[in-house]
Amino acid sequence: MRAVIKFLTSVRLAIVLLILIICSSILGTLIPQGRSAEEYLVRYGQLGGLLQRLQFTRLYQSFWYVGLLVFFGLNIIICTLTRLMPKIRRVFRPLVDADSKNIQALKIKEKFRLTIEPGAAKEAVKKELVRRRYKIKESTSEGRISLLARKRVLGWFGSDIVHLGLLVILTGGVVTGLFGLKQSLSFTENQTLPVPRADFSIRLDKFTTEYYPNGSVRDWKSDLTVIEAGQSVHQKTIEVNHPLTYKGYVFYQSGYGWDWQSPALEVWVKKSSDPAYLRKLSLKVGEKSVLEEESLQVTVVRFLPDFVLDENRQPGTRSLEPNNPAAFIEGWNGGEKVFSGWIFAKFPDFSRLHGAKETELSFELKDIKAPQYSVIQISKDLGVPLIWAGCSLLMAGLFLAFYWPTREVRLVIEESGGKSEVTAGGISAKSQEAFMKEFSDIMSAARKTR
């Protein structure tokens, strides 16, 4: 048992853990995370299965990585606590009485005589120390006066506050991982959807995309209404970087898209022999439309928003953006297929209809209307306040640890023949040079007292 505790308190363990965490984190950035089993098979062959079984493919959520972090947390707790107790004792119940020999063993020290009696010497030294904001404790024993002067004592606890902050952050992470709710909902305009695990709903009133003059997206905005018991209770336009917060739930603008399930297509039909001829057909995928005078039925068999030919020369879509909308149409006369082929909204000249007997007719894909939806990410995460609290502690602790160095001056004043023999020493873990200067300033000021 004792050996276990000793191991857990050891700083060596912290170092080993740090190195292990560093190495496994690196591994996680080299192996793509959270892809499909097939992709790993293609990429790593036989090894793919092993990587997945060892959870290297969702490394940061894996049993052993989280285990490492928890172990690290335990190590911080134990390490910090075992050092905290002696530190607290040293601050609140310090040993003021000192021996001049111990003081002489310090690295920063000075010894001098004053031609006044010890009581007056003490007051003179104290005045100098107080002027420099030192807090002083004193004790008198066996004819010697001991002084303990300190300032910026909080600096000693800087590292403990850093570690506390880290633990709070780790706890926040665990809370997020276990209880955090995160879900994406796709809204079309005027659609109301219930918020998961909540007693209110959200309605999307309006969704707008703003563009820069060069055509790239500037922002997405969703006008949202919170509906509680049938009543609108809150309204806000959210955009990227400006979410809506309501009852601990946060609503983010996370994406947008078009519902390509059944876009409304407008197809224009023209006839080369008759410039005045123009028929406008409104079609949905799978629907038929009849051109009476031509005794022709036109159907849209397939629609692709961003047409591309893959390596096998098969049509597919590169993305869900309407970059290159294309429709595959067929013309039927009774039971006979007269023609079929792709027509392109952006490249009317590329349309090629195969088997077109009526070479007179040409088809143009003029307009595509698909309902646009806004993707709203909903999250409710009690870990978040812990994270911010932890970050504040972390930063405060770092400041204290590096820039609030505790300084300690010890003095022993002994009487020798009506005069005072002063022995002084100083301790400061950080900023030695500045402290040495202050120490010698105090001492030379004290020496001048008569």
């Binding site: 170092i15 950035t29 997206v217 922002d219 983010y252 970050c391």
Partner: protein, 272 residues
């Protein structure tokens, strides 16, 4: 004058500063080092103007593509170096450090880096862009100083072991102390900029404060390496050689976070 002109003048001043610092290495005349310092300082002023002009022209923070970001990193590096030199008189480091700055400036002005100020994608339109990137890069600049002083330490220590004294009084021990000072400025800045501000912004923009995106993981790795530096030093009393090696590794990790992740790994942070 345009931003590009100021940038070029700055670049020239940094090269001149480096030249004077190199003269100082060989001539050991204080005057050359002082001239180097003044030229670098003048460069910093012009560089500041260039960054301000860039901000005014583009209407957004000057670190949204690789050119801007490199230029800002060079600016922070000079700032960090001048502060450290002014406080700790590390003149000999100037020559080596300015080589890093010149490399950054050269990379920024290379034709590989597109220079147009593109309009900002929605996720970047936030004042957190300022806070997150500037504080992080400033922290990394101090790591760069620690990197140079650590390498100088390794050389000085090797020389002292052979019984030869270091010229101009910059002893190995002092270089070690200065590396530590640079890390103790860089560490809190990097923590604040990269991790804390990063999490706050990610929370606002993406809806989760931590996504294990490669850039995030590499920042964390960099941070862990410097935590290792601090702990081995304060608890196990590692000073000198081992400390210097960790500081060098830490800077290389920061460099990889900055460059490598963008070009070799992909993720949410692939804006530039």
């Amino acid at each position: 004058m345009s931003e590009a002109t100021f940038f070029l003048l700055t670049f020239i001043l940094y090269i001149l500063a480096a030249a004077f610092y190199f003269v100082f290495l060989f001539s050991k005349k204080e005057g050359s080092a002082k001239a180097g310092f003044m030229l670098a300082f003048l460069g910093l002023l012009l560089h500041t103007l260039a960054l301000i002009l860039r901000t005014v022209e583009s209407g957004h923070a000057p670190f949204t593509n690789m050119y801007e970001s490199l230029s800002f990193l060079a600016w922070s590096s000079i700032l960090a170096y001048l502060i450290i030199e002014w406080k700790y008189r590390v003149r000999r480091a100037g020559a080596y450090f300015l080589l890093i700055v010149i490399a950054l400036m050269a990379l920024a002005s290379s034709p590989l880096m597109p220079k147009e100020a593109a309009p900002l994608v929605p996720a970047l339109q936030s004042y957190w862009l300022w806070l997150h990137v500037s504080v992080t890069l400033l922290g990394e600049a101090f790591f760069a100083v620690a990197f140079i002083t650590s390498i100088m330490y390794l050389r000085a220590e090797a020389r002292e072991r052979k019984g030869r004294a270091t010229p101009t009084g910059l002893s190995a021990q002092r270089l070690d102390a200065i590396s530590y000072r640079a890390v103790s400025v860089g560490f809190p800045l990097f923590t604040l900029g990269a991790l804390v501000f990063g999490m706050v912004w990610a929370h606002k923009a993406w809806g989760s404060y931590w996504s294990w995106d490669p850039k995030e993981v590499w920042s964390l790795i960099t941070w862990f390496v410097f935590a290792l530096y601090l702990h081995t030093r304060i608890i196990m009393g590692w000073k000198g050689r081992r400390s210097a090696v960790i500081a060098v590794i830490g800077f290389l990790a920061a460099l990889f976070t900055y460059f490598g992740v963008n070009y070799l790994l992909s993720g949410l942070h692939s804006y530039v």
